[in-house]
């Protein structure tokens, strides 16, 4: 497992996780790495909790990350960061969007946790909260929050600028390219 890096992305169906993970996987391939990605379609996309596993390195076997195996946890929503926290290895890194989406199950019973960053800190060595919705709005389109978040952790990845460019061109329709590039750049500046 040592040669493979594991990125787990979690959030709410409809937040653009699949697009962000597509761009990430394409960029890793363009950087000359082996890459595998796994997710679930169908029922999971109806506003439920969703996860995408991205693994890369010289040679990748499993498409799935085991609990405790993720080097990097990327959450598009605060509560979802805690749901997938058991997948992060002790001492790993978490990038979490400040976005809050209250689930319909918060009708009595368990409430929305108020101490997300503290709980993450118990397992993660480094927790970076990213104002992805704010950055996306600044870029000019609120739907680019996922790409802004991707920009925030991009400096941690062995992916040169040219490879990101290849991935953007492959996965993002022409008319949305510029706004996504801008969101990515704003994320990159915010994450460092």
């Amino acid at each position: 497992m040592s040669n493979t890096t594991n990125v787990m992305m979690g959030g709410v169906g409809g937040q653009g996780i699949i697009l962000a993970s597509e761009v990430l996987a394409e960029a890793l391939m363009a950087a000359g790495l082996d890459v595998k990605k796994s997710e679930v379609h169908g029922m999971a996309q109806r506003g439920g909790s969703v996860r995408t596993d991205v693994r890369f390195g010289p040679k990748v076997w499993s498409p799935l990350i085991s609990p405790g195996g993720a080097d990097l946890l990327v959450a598009f929503e605060q509560l979802e960061s805690l749901r997938y926290l058991p997948y992060l290895r002790e001492g790993g890194t978490a990038f979490v969007s400040t976005q809050v989406i209250v689930p319909t199950t918060v009708v009595g019973g368990a409430g929305y946790p108020a101490d997300v960053k503290e709980r993450l800190g118990k397992r993660a060595k480094r927790v970076v909260m990213v104002d992805a919705p704010g950055l996306a709005a600044k870029a000019g389109n609120v739907r680019t929050a996922g790409i802004a978040l991707l920009g925030a952790f991009a400096p941690l990845l062995p992916v040169p600028d040219e490879a990101w460019e290849v991935a953007f061109a492959a996965k993002i329709p022409g008319r949305f390219l510029e706004v996504n590039r801008k969101a990515f750049q704003l994320g990159r500046e915010a994450g460092v």
Partner: protein, 580 residues
């Protein structure tokens, strides 16, 4: 040129490279994208069939006509197509016929997790199990060659992690699509008993030949390593094995019916410990055990749910698997009906009228979840109607029983049970939730949308005329988002003792993308009764109440202003934009 493809995209590419002429399917997770990917190849005739049985019959007909044909479906679709499948094994498939069964261990989007490898054994047809996207492409090409060579349908069996996993693929050169034509051959194609008796002998002779092929195919290979541990595996489980036991000896099986008995003997006799790693049933394990070897498998790994590297490592070492369970106090986030979904309005009416609702397969199955809690059964495609008819016969004609299903599901398997209900003097009500698409699998066309898989216009199936034609006299078409009118129509339909159909027609919001302005709540009027929150709409959030436990707060981002919450509000505290 290398590219990153999902297993489904690679299966479509492999079929295209093999010169496939016809591809047919009914949408079903995790198989849907095979057909969606194949329409990028204009040479291929592609179609959505009304169900998997029809799809397989179409594909078999094409293969009899000398063309290569692909038929893909999810695991439970094979149950629907099992009738033609069993006898297609007898007729053979001259032009080449490949059936994809996309299984769903873990039931990410399914009603059961049956292991369809048993079908290959039952039908006595060869089975291939790819382990990543490159193998999806390569195995699909080979599957067509095998189908033609052995004159048999071939089953390509995948699982969710293969279908929806993406990995790097090097595509090949496409073969020209061939068409060898139809050669009349009644003893082979007309399965009356006298012909079928002779064909059964052919099936058994072919099985013998396939056993020989299984021994020599490069799809089955030994990767020698440390001979202390020998692992036999197939499909995605192979990836988990290589991940966690890189030094073990591995027998990787890509051709899994018939299994290669001699190769297994060679492998098992040279290692100290034989372990089978496979998801779901002990399909390989039992066949290895039958060869007389001491083998471990389901004693180490779970028979339920899908595997992952952590579970495989834990099973091999006899240690507990790492837990993926989040902290217990986290609120869950199950999938929900979209804000403004017309189905929510329908189910709110059923609940208000206290109907027994026999449900079906589709987005609307989500209405079983709290707080809506609005359906009483869900079994398989079309089961709502037969179920409602049976239930109303059991409870008597006074009972208010409905069978409720979507438009695509009705076309798939709802027509024959409706005929049954009318013919046998049933009294239940059938509600067709007609949102103009196959929503759950990602909005595919179907016969009642009037468009083909490529979006081209075609003859539209007229649902109301169809229901009348089978003998239902009381057919109403109502928009469920016209809340009061729909409630009235439902009350009327369930009140009289004859079969009735209500077509609840309102388009899926994912199709129209229509959004109204969010509702507003007059706080001084709200008594925090909770009726609106019982709708389970993501557009309404529950916050700490001032008077009682919880009060509704509108989510400006999610509310589309459908007004259902305003309709159910006991105090008229919720206002629709532009309405007083």
């Amino acid at each position: 040129m290398k590219c990153l493809l999902s297993g489904n995209e690679a299966l479509a590419r492999g079929a295209y490279e093999a010169g496939v002429r016809l591809a047919t399917a009914y949408p079903g997770t995790p198989s849907t994208e095979i057909t969606e990917a194949i329409i990028s190849y204009p040479e291929v005739f592609a179609e959505w069939a009304p169900n998997e049985k029809v799809a397989l019959e179409v594909a078999l007909g094409a293969a009899m006509g000398g063309a290569r044909a692909l038929c893909s479906m999810k695991h439970v679709g094979v149950n629907v197509a099992a009738d033609p499948l069993m006898t297609a094994a007898y007729t053979g498939a001259a032009g080449g016929l490949v059936v994809v069964s996309a299984d769903d261990p873990g039931m990410h989007s399914s009603q059961n997790e049956q292991d369809n490898r048993h079908y290959a054994r039952l039908a006595k047809i060869p089975m291939l199990e790819p382990a990543d996207s490159q193998e999806c492409l390569d195995f699909m090409r080979l599957a067509f060659d095998l189908s033609e060579h052995f004159d048999t349908p071939v089953l390509v069996r995948t699982t969710t992690r293969v279908n929806h996993g993406k990995s790097i693929v090097t595509p090949g050169e496409p073969l020209p699509a061939r068409q060898t034509g139809f050669t009349r051959n009644p003893p082979k194609y007309v399965m009356v008993p006298n012909n079928a008796r002779r064909r059964h002998v052919v099936v058994e002779e072919r099985a013998q030949a396939l056993r020989g092929y299984s021994e020599t195919t490069p799809l089955n290979r030994i990767e020698w390593g440390d001979k202390g541990l020998g692992i036999i595996t197939s499909g995605v489980s192979y990836q988990y094995v290589k991940e966690v036991a890189p030094n073990a000896s591995v027998l990787k099986l890509g051709f899994t019916w018939p299994v290669p008995a001699e190769l297994i003997r060679t492998f098992a006799s040279q290692v100290n410990r034989v372990v089978v790693v496979e998801e779901l049933d002990p399909y390989l394990e039992e066949q290895v055990a039958a060869l007389g070897f001491k083998v471990e498998g389901k004693s180490l790994f779970p028979i339920v749910d899908e595997l992952n590297p952590g579970l495989v490592a834990a099973g091999l070492s006899g240690t507990p698997a790492p837990s993926a369970a989040p902290e217990a106090d986290l609120p869950g986030r199950p999938p929900v009906l979209c804000p403004g979904c017309p189905h929510r309005a329908s189910f709110a009416a059923f609940k208000k009228l206290k109907l027994i609702a026999m449900g079906d397969i589709g987005c609307y199955t989500l209405s079983v979840l709290p707080p809506l809690n609005a359906i009483d059964s869900c079994v398989c495609m079309g089961a709502s109607i037969g179920g409602a008819h049976g239930m109303s016969k059991a409870l008597g004609p006074e009972a208010k029983v409905i069978g409720v299903l979507g438009d695509s599901t009705f076309v798939h398997s709802g027509i024959t049970p409706l005929v049954d209900m009318v013919y046998n003097r049933g009294t239940a009500t059938v509600v067709i939730l007609d949102n103009g698409t196959t929503a759950m699998t990602g909005r595919q066309e179907h016969p009642a949308t009037g468009k083909t898989v490529r979006g081209e216009p075609t003859v539209r199936l007229d649902l109301e005329a169809l229901c009348r034609a089978v003998g239902v006299k009381d057919v109403q078409v109502v928009n469920p988002c016209d809340f009061a009118a729909f409630e009235k129509a439902m009350a009327s339909a369930v009140s009289h003792q004859e079969p009735s159909v209500v077509i609840a027609r309102s388009p899926c919001l994912l199709l129209t993308r229509e959004r109204g302005k969010p509702v507003t709540i007059a706080e001084e009027q709200c008594v925090e009764c909770g009726l609106c929150l019982q709708l389970g709409c993501p557009g309404l959030m529950a916050e700490q109440g001032r008077k009682r436990e919880l009060r509704p707060v509108v989510s400006e981002e999610l509310c589309v202003g459908c007004g259902l919450c305003a309709y159910v509000c006991s105090r008229h505290a919720i206002k629709e934009a532009g309405r007083e």
